[in-house]
Every structure is written in C-alpha cells, then in structure tokens.
Amino acid sequence: MEVKVVKDILGANERIAERNRQLLDSNNVFAVNLMSSPGAGKTSLILQTLKRLKGKIRIGVIEGDVSSSLDAELVAKEGVPAVQINTGGGCHLDANMTSSALGNMPLKDIKLLLIENVGNLICPAEFALGEHRKVLISSIPEGDDKPFKYPLMFHQADAVLINKIDLLPYLKFDAQAFSRTIKKMNEKVKIIQISCTTGQGIEEWVSWLLKQIEKG
C-alpha cells in the first residue's frame, strides 16, 4: 500500500526553529546566524562588532564549534554573555542545539544575539536556528568561485561580507564579478567589503546590522 507523505524532511527542525524565534521575539532579542567556511573570520567579525557596539547595545554570543571552548572564552573576555555549543563532530548547528544554548543565555539582558555557526558552507544552509537574519562571510583567499560551488548558502544570505579585503592586491580575486554572481540569484542581498584586520567596512556592516534590528 502506498501512503502519500509529502512532508519536509527537516520539518522537525523547522518547528523547533520557529519556537526559538518566538522565544527570541518574546524577549525582544534579534538573532543573527553567522556562517562561513573555517577561518573566514566569523570570530574576528564578532570581536570587531562587540568593540564597535560596546555601550550602545547589549549583545550575547553563541559559539558553535565541533570541539573546544576557545571562541567562547575569547568572546567572554569582552565582557559579554557567551555560550559555547560543541557539536561533537557535527558539521552544523541545528535548532535543537540552539534551543539548549538559549536556555543558558540571559535573554532579558540582551538585545542582539550573534550565533557563530560551525565553519562550513554546505550543512548550515539547511538548518534554520530561529534567527532573524543569515549573514555569510566569504573571505578573499577562498576564491571568487564560491557562489557557484555553494549556491544554497549564497542564495539564502541576507548579507554577504567579503572579508580580508586588505589582501586584494596580493590575490587573484575579482570582487566585482563575485558580487555580480551573487546578485544574479539573490537580488536583495547586501554585500559589504570588510577587513577585520584594518577595520575597513566594519562601520558599514554595523550600521546595516543596527538598521536590521530596527526593522526586526
């Protein structure tokens, strides 16, 4: 006997993500899911963001890594609440892990939650966490062909930050072609060139972020 199902395989994750979103909304917290390949600069961007927004807005950070609590310790030094999730080999965060981390986050005391996903351009694209925006960091040394290779990630991003832009003179990376490619299938995406080393573009990123929080 054939039974019609037609149900999303990740429906269970979507439902938990929706609950996370409601919890965030009821606490008036705006969450950003930060994704990139390993080493593209997620933690550096978080540290730069904390520096710029210190005293302006209260921030909490969830750090997702396969193992270690190095990133959470680094972030906690800046005096913000930080919760580490170790996926124990898992290649992405999911809504359930995020839900546990939210339980350890003082949601009443923060306005912005930065969630650093596991470094990976494939798996995190599939798993909603309950975030309000998806931000993708793509760094110059990774090459300008990445949108073609990981289309889902680039397609879903609300913003793409091109990091390590200070290395542009030394590497073969066509920043214009890269942006054009992304815009072809993601018309509304915001693309910002940044360098977490020199600080270039960070002001623009932060002002975009603040605008998004206002919009909700």
């Binding site: 039974v3 999303d8 395989i9 494939i122």
Partner: protein, 113 residues
C-alpha cells in the same frame, strides 16, 4: 556530512507515518531531493542502512528523484536549468533570476505492508 542528520530526520518521519498507517513494515521510501541541497544519494543510503537497523523501515528500498536547480529569468520569464559556472539566462542573457526548483528535500510517499 549533513546527510547523517537529514537521514535521521527522514527515518523519524517515515516511522511516524508508517505507524499512523498501522503498517508492519516499510518496503520503499520515495524521496525528492533538490540539487541545491547538496545531499548525496550514496551517503543517505549508507546512513539509512545503519540507522534503520531494528526498525520497521529496515531493508526498505530508497528511491531518489533528484531535481535539477532551475531558475526563472526575471527578464524574459522563461525557466532554465542553472549550469554550474554560468548563471546567465540562455534565452535573453538576463542576469536576474529567481530559483524555482532545486531546494526540495521531502518524503513524497512510502510503500508499507
């Protein structure tokens, strides 16, 4: 590697549906997977064989319908399959498109006994 979590979710969904239908066993699972999801058939099969052991879905055949990434050109309104390194509309050379297929990831139906 996301196939592990995806296969586990798929199995949970299949077992829930089989139980609802009062089935003793699952003979076949029909899956629809979009190319953009990057889900690899062989990986799903590998994890499924392992995860389904001792469940009502053990030994079930997996059937995959893969959906190519398809875009609709906002310029000329025609649909076309997205090529790997060329995202230009083949009809009007337009550069503004909307993805209309390729993100699917669902269980279409199951065959139960």
């Amino acid at each position: 590697m996301h196939e592990l979590a995806i296969t586990q979710s798929m199995l949970d969904l299949v077992l829930e549906q089989a139980q609802k239908a009062g089935a003793r066993g699952v003979g076949k699972i029909n899956l629809v997977i979009g190319e953009m999801t990057g889900v690899v058939e062989e990986c799903v099969q590998f994890y499924f064989d392992f995860l389904s052991k001792g469940t009502a879905a053990e030994g079930a055949a997996l059937s995959f319908t893969m959906v190519p990434t398809t875009a609709r050109c906002r310029g000329c309104d025609k649909n076309f399959e997205l090529k790997e390194f060329d995202w230009t509309c083949p009809y009007c050379q337009g550069n503004n498109m909307e993805i209309v297929a390729g993100k699917e990831l669902f269980v279409e139906s199951i065959e139960v006994e």
